[in-house]
């Protein structure tokens, strides 16, 4: 799938810095996203990888001001460069219910979720649902919206779009539903698509179809993609840049080659070693990471990976900063949050 040429031009589209999203609960405050910083360039694919509860989905929802109550963005900036020349807009400061936020959602930043069945309304035809999105954003009449819906359904590779437009979600297969979600997300030509585990619920052959489709549409429309997943294979397939998250923080960040061929954080290394790779695994024990992800209300002091880390040292009782590698700053190139790579 490497054939799709990337149109990334390195001008920033979105810059997140120091983002902190919290959930106050009866038992204390959960820092779901804690001091997360990374940026997405125009036309680029950034993969965000981590295990359940690491804050990757909440990061995506924060970018659209869709954090479910009682969660809220506590600190940090989400600078969104709507036009390359204008001053950026800080999404973290925009009210979730404001007209401005509504214009950004769907029009400029769109999101697709893991489970297409629960994201589609079962009592409306898929054409209706796509047309609704078109009408909301583009102020066109019903007829044009319907035509646009048919066009989008054709564009995501569903055969017989003129018939499919009048079908209900339950009449479609899982792969087709996810294509409809993509059609709906892309009908207003957003500049950024947030894809939260877009293929996790799909079979491998269907996953390959959907990932290929996303790459084709990206090459055609030039949008950036933020791909949230736990599947390192999907990341290797699509991403240009990778952000590795653990317990709400970014532990390592770099180009896809940095992360896969020169992982520096013990968690990234452990994760890469612990997955069985097709055609390469000998019939022996997999190197596994001991223990489990800590509970968000009982995080260890210092580095959250400390208790599971094979390289643990006394210093790890303090939280290390995310620092750049090879003389670069932490915002540029390969960066890691680990005492092993922090020069004092």
């Amino acid at each position: 799938m490497a054939s799709a040429e990337k149109t990334s031009d390195q001008t920033p589209l979105l810059e997140i810095s120091g983002l902190k999203t919290i959930f106050p609960t009866d038992d204390g405050i959960v820092n779901a996203v804690n001091d997360v910083s990374f940026s997405i360039a125009r036309g680029q694919t950034v993969g965000v990888v981590g295990e359940s509860g690491c804050g990757k989905s909440i990061t995506g929802l924060s970018m659209l001001q869709l954090v479910p109550s009682p969660g809220r963005i506590e600190a940090g900036e989400i600078l969104f460069y709507r036009n390359a020349d204008d001053e950026p807009l800080d999404i973290a400061q925009v009210s979730p219910k404001s007209e401005l936020m509504r214009q950004i959602r769907g029009n400029e930043i769109a999101i697709i979720f893991q489970e297409p069945m629960t994201s589609l309304n079962p009592v409306y035809t898929v054409g209706n649902q796509i047309a609704e999105a078109v009408m909301l954003h583009d102020q066109v009449d019903k007829k044009t919206a319907r035509e646009r819906a048919i066009e989008m359904i054709a564009r995501v590779g569903i055969p017989a779009p003129a018939q499919r437009v009048d079908e209900y979600p339950h009449q479609l297969s899982g792969g087709m539903r996810q294509r409809i979600m993509i059609a709906m997300a892309l009908c207003c030509s957003p500049t950024l698509l947030i894809a939260d585990e877009p293929t996790t619920a799909l079979d491998v052959t269907i996953q390959a179809q959907v990932l290929g489709l996303m790459q084709e549409l990206q090459a055609e429309m030039g949008m950036a993609i933020m791909l949230i997943t736990h599947d390192l294979g999907v990341i290797a397939d699509l991403a240009d840049e990778v952000v590795v998250m653990y317990s709400g923080r970014v532990v390592e960040r770099g180009s896809v080659d940095d992360i896969f061929y020169n992982p520096l954080h013990p968690y990234t290394q452990g994760l890469l070693k612990s997955i069985p790779v097709l055609g390469r695994t000998p019939q022996s024990t997999l190197p596994s990471i001991p223990g489990t992800v800590p509970h968000p209300l009982a995080l260890p002091d210092g580095c959250s990976f400390g208790p599971r880390c094979p390289e643990r040292m006394p210093k790890c009782d303090e939280m290390p900063e995310l620092v750049g590698i090879n003389g670069k700053t932490e915002n540029d190139g390969h960066a890691v949050r680990c005492w092993l790579h922090t020069d004092v």
């Binding site: 079979d203 097709l278 997999l286 992800v293």
Partner: protein, 332 residues
């Protein structure tokens, strides 16, 4: 190696009923005549996409659902489990156990871990009193849990730990065969490796055989000695794991392997990707001939008319494809 289980022509048809008289208007052929065997101490992987019948096949083997036809010859006694009455089946039940996918749904939330793991032994009266308690602790320790855990409830454990409880329960009656249905697919990546290692370790320790049902090809390759690939209720290819992944003989196996994204960016950029068109057909109206032909890029006229039989092409390799002799398919 000796044969532990031999499955011959297993079928499971679910009737489609309609109208007030529940007239049967057709059948969903969930499992449509599959045959394979499992050697003692071996892990047989069963892979396929959703709806291919792999779970139904596993449940039929345990007689959790009654098979429509077929025979399963089990153990040294060579007993056909499919023909036994429920009463006659009882002594065999303890010799085949199951591990389920969802560690949240498969443990009773109102029972303590000790009760859950001890229940099979209480029901079968294999252990009582303090011997039972000792055995529970021993089982929990063998799956990496602690003796203090017996009095805790499932909600207090993480997904991986719950799966360990499920495994301890499956081991309680010292089974010979364990059917594991997607045992790691609900788990996080780092925990997945722990459970896979535990399963391999227990296989050595207790001389178990596994039927390992999963959709993830890399996981199946890692744990299995031999792999059977299913498509629409039929086995399309069986071979030892390495041969299957290095040189697949069925076009569907080739496409499945090609669809798995490898966690290696430069290899992934260079690979040729076979993109299968369309979806798996409706199993109540399967295509004529070879079920895979509408999506197969090598299909010819014969594939539309005749259903290929599963036949042995070399030692240990069985394929159901008309063109398996002439095709040169790519592996990983």
């Amino acid at each position: 190696m000796t044969k532990l289980l031999e499955v011959n022509d297993l079928r499971k048809y679910f009737p489609i009923q309609k109208g007030i008289f529940q007239r049967t208007i057709g059948y969903v052929k969930a499992v449509d005549g599959i045959s394979f065997d499992v050697q003692r101490g071996e892990t047989l992987g069963l892979v396929g996409e959703s709806g291919c019948g792999k779970t139904t096949a596993g449940r039929c083997l345990l007689r959790l659902i009654p098979p429509t036809s077929g025979s399963f010859i089990f153990g040294e006694e060579q007993v056909d489990l499919a023909k036994l009455s429920h009463q006659e089946l009882r002594p065999f039940r303890r010799r085949i156990q199951m591990i389920f996918q969802d560690p949240h749904a498969s443990l009773n939330p109102r029972m303590t871990v000790g009760d859950i793991v001890g229940e099979p032994m209480r029901v079968n009266r294999t252990e009582t009193g303090s011997a039972l308690q000792d055995r529970i602790v021993e089982l929990l320790e063998s799956v990496g849990l602690r003796s203090q855990d017996t009095r805790r409830y499932p909600h207090a454990f993480s997904g991986g730990q719950r799966q360990r409880i499920g495994i301890a329960r499956a081991l309680a009656l010292q089974p010979e065969l364990i059917v594991a249905d997607e045992p790691v697919s609900a788990l996080d990546v780092s925990v997945q490796a722990q459970i896979l290692n535990l399963l391999s370790e227990l296989r050595e320790k207790f001389q178990l055989s596994y039927i390992f049902i999963a959709h993830d090809l890399s996981v199946v390759e890692h744990i299995s000695d031999r792999v059977a690939v299913m498509y629409l209720g039929k086995i399309v290819e069986i071979s030892d794991a390495e041969t299957l992944y290095q040189s697949p003989k069925h076009p569907y196996t080739e496409a499945l392997i090609s669809a798995v994204p490898l966690p290696d960016p430069s290899v992934q950029r260079k690979r040729e990707h076979i993109r299968l068109e369309g979806d798996v057909p409706d199993p109540s109206q399967p295509p004529t001939g070879c079920y895979f032909h509408p999506r197969c890029r090598y299909a010819t006229d014969i594939c539309k008319q005749e259903t290929p039989e599963l036949r042995q092409i070399t030692e240990g390799v069985q394929v159901a494809c008309h063109h398996s002799d002439t095709l040169a398919l790519q592996g990983v």
